[in-house]
């Protein structure tokens, strides 16, 4: 068998194993779905009552931001699961087998896309209930969803590296919280960035989370001439800017994670 086919077959086996786990541990699915519902409702009703977004209502503004934040958080699951597999010795087992070393990581990141797909669907439905609408075409909206998922996929690889490096699921969770919270809040996710103080505004405008949010907003048709995007290249061209980040992250973290996997030890 050719090496690439073999790697693909191995990846399929690992993906299947990960999906069985989603089915067997339903709490996981509950949190994957409940948490986004809670976020949409909290932000829509609590923040939405205080924040006025010109042109589009706050709820319409909000949804793309919630999407971005939720999938980025969802990606930490990749690191968490790999650290857990390491701890339980499952990675040792895999590493003693004549399988492709990349398969465990591709299988993991691919099955984690499913988690994010489920959260996106749940959030979109909740969004529709609270008044979010897609004002573009179906095709554009689908591209919007795909872009959010692609971005999350790239973040998954960062988390894979972190998980293999720190080797403790709890630490992965806590550490990524500390990074992801500012990353997803110092952004255009929940408030327009116009009134942010200087350095924060610069950070927010070049923050890739802002880019993917802005891109999704545009693709969903949730923007308005009354609220033009900041006059920086990243916000004027959010789709290419997001794609640059995705390519950059994947180009760095796929090889880095695979190397880390090959030297990873259970303790």
């Amino acid at each position: 068998m050719n090496a690439l086919l073999e790697a693909a077959a191995d990846t399929a086996v690992i993906t299947k194993r990960n999906l069985i786990k989603i089915k067997r541990v339903p709490d996981l699915l509950v949190f994957t779905t409940l948490q986004p519902i809670m976020f949409v409702l909290l932000f829509a009703y609590v923040f939405g009552s205080a924040i006025d977004v010109p042109g589009v209502g706050y709820r319409e503004f909000l949804i793309a931001g919630i999407f971005a934040q939720t999938v980025v958080f969802g990606s930490t699951f990749t690191g968490y699961s790999l650290a857990q597999d390491l701890q339980k010795g499952v990675i040792d087992r895999f590493r003693s087998l004549p399988m492709a070393p990349s398969a465990v990581l591709f299988g993991r990141t691919l099955s984690d896309v499913l988690n994010n797909v489920i959260s996106l669907i749940v959030m979109a439905l909740t969004g529709l209930v609270v008044g979010w609408r897609i004002r573009s075409s179906v095709l554009e909206a689908l591209v919007g969803f795909a872009l959010v998922l692609l971005f999350a996929y790239a973040i998954s690889w960062v988390m894979a590296y972190v998980g293999l490096l720190v080797r403790s699921p709890e630490i992965v969770n806590n550490a990524s919280f500390i990074v992801i919270f500012p990353l997803t809040f110092i952004a255009n996710t929940f408030v327009p960035t116009n009134n942010l103080p200087g350095p924060l505004k610069a950070f927010a405008d070049w923050n890739p989370v802002s880019a993917v949010t802005q891109a999704a907003r545009e693709l969903f048709g949730n923007t308005s001439a009354a609220l033009p995007p900041p006059d920086v290249w990243s916000m004027q061209h959010p789709v290419p800017y997001t794609l640059i980040w995705v390519v950059l992250i994947l180009a760095i973290f796929i090889p880095l994670s695979i190397r880390q996997y090959q030297r990873a030890a259970s303790r």
């Binding site: 068998m1 067997r24 339980k88 499952v90 087992r93 003693s96």
Partner: protein, 338 residues
């Protein structure tokens, strides 16, 4: 006979800790090597290097003719590993675990399934096979982990403490399974804390401590190294130890060893039961009151204690305990020489 496993000068550091310090090993094809050593001796590290999971800092090793670093991928087709902690996926059933491993060995769908069923049967897990392994007992996990190592019918097998934590019955049935594999021609490297296990399963034994082999040979050779049979007496009163020694030393073939603390006296002898009877007569005549008497042949435990200065089965708080044991051994030797 060719060697299935050859390790030369393996060195491995973990930060400051030197886990392996120039370890050399040879295992002839189709034989069993028991790797014996106290906690932290480097057994697991050695197994992990030979099974391609770790790269040595220095030295080299070949398994089945493949270099463990350069030909790791090719080698993985030929080895089975059951590590110190059972590496089973707890959310999968026993069957799913084995089936997955079969697929990752590229056995194909049909063969993987068939092999999974065979192994469940062989390791007495057929009934539990369709249950999620999270609910398995420690012994069942251990057996499933061994099954996973056997999926591809590897000619070379590494088992790191395969029976630790098993109850006596599971241990004996595990031994039967392992003995069966060995009869089938599998080369086996086995680490263990149980000297009885090494005695029973291994053709040759390598005792390692502080990352190097400090003795090796067959179990009989190792026992021979530390002498033959000994008479052992436990006295009721430590004050009589001197008198007792004067009675038995003329019957023995070497220095007596005295342990004040446990009121024990032992002396190497030849001649077995006849000497024992003679010694008892002499002691009785001298009015020495005895609590326990025995004629002991050396066990691997003695080999172990003599060679490493600490016992094999100190799982917990090994540092403290091994210190006490060492001190005791030293005291004993001193008094014996005196």
């Amino acid at each position: 006979m060719t060697n299935a496993i050859v390790a030369q000068g393996l060195v491995k550091h973990y930060g400051e800790v030197k886990a392996l310090d120039g370890l050399d090993l040879e295992v002839a094809e189709g034989t069993v090597l028991g790797l014996l050593g106290p906690n932290g001796a480097g057994k697991t590290t050695c197994v992990r290097i030979l099974s391609t999971l770790l790269k040595p800092d220095a030295g080299s090793a070949t398994v089945a003719g493949h270099d463990v670093v350069r030909d790791a991928k090719a080698l993985r087709r030929l080895i089975g590993l059951s590590g110190q902690n059972a590496a089973v996926d707890e959310h999968l059933t026993g069957f799913e675990n084995l089936d997955m491993v079969g697929r990752l060995y590229h056995l194909g769908r049909e063969r993987s399934r068939q092999r999974a069923r065979e192994l469940l049967e062989m390791l007495d897990l057929t009934e539990a096979g369709d249950r999620i392994t999270k609910g398995y007992s420690g012994g069942m996990r251990r057996r499933l982990d061994l099954a996973a190592a056997l999926v591809a019918e590897p000619p070379i097998l590494f088992l790191d403490e395969p029976t630790t934590g098993l109850d006596p019955r599971s241990r004996i049935s595990m031994w039967d399974v392992i003995a069966g594999l060995v009869r089938g021609g599998t080369t086996l490297l086995l680490t263990t804390q149980y000297l009885e296990e090494a005695d029973r399963l291994a053709d040759r034994i390598a005792v390692i401590d502080h990352g190097t082999v400090i003795a090796q040979g067959t179990s009989d050779e190792l026992k021979g190294q530390i002498g033959g049979e000994r008479l052992e007496f436990t006295l009721a009163d430590a004050a009589q130890l001197g008198v007792a020694r004067d009675c038995v030393v003329p019957l023995g073939i070497g220095e007596a060893v005295i342990d004040q603390h446990s009121r024990r006296l032992s002396v190497p002898v030849t001649g077995g039961a006849a000497v024992l009877v003679e010694a008892l007569r002499a002691l009785d005549a001298a009015g020495v009151e005895l609590q326990d008497v025995g004629l002991r042949r050396p066990t691997l435990d003695d080999v172990f204690l003599t060679l490493t200065g600490h016992a094999a089965e100190e799982k917990e708080s090994q540092d403290d305990e091994s210190e006490t044991t060492t001190t005791q051994t030293r005291t004993t030797t001193k008094e014996g020489a005196a």
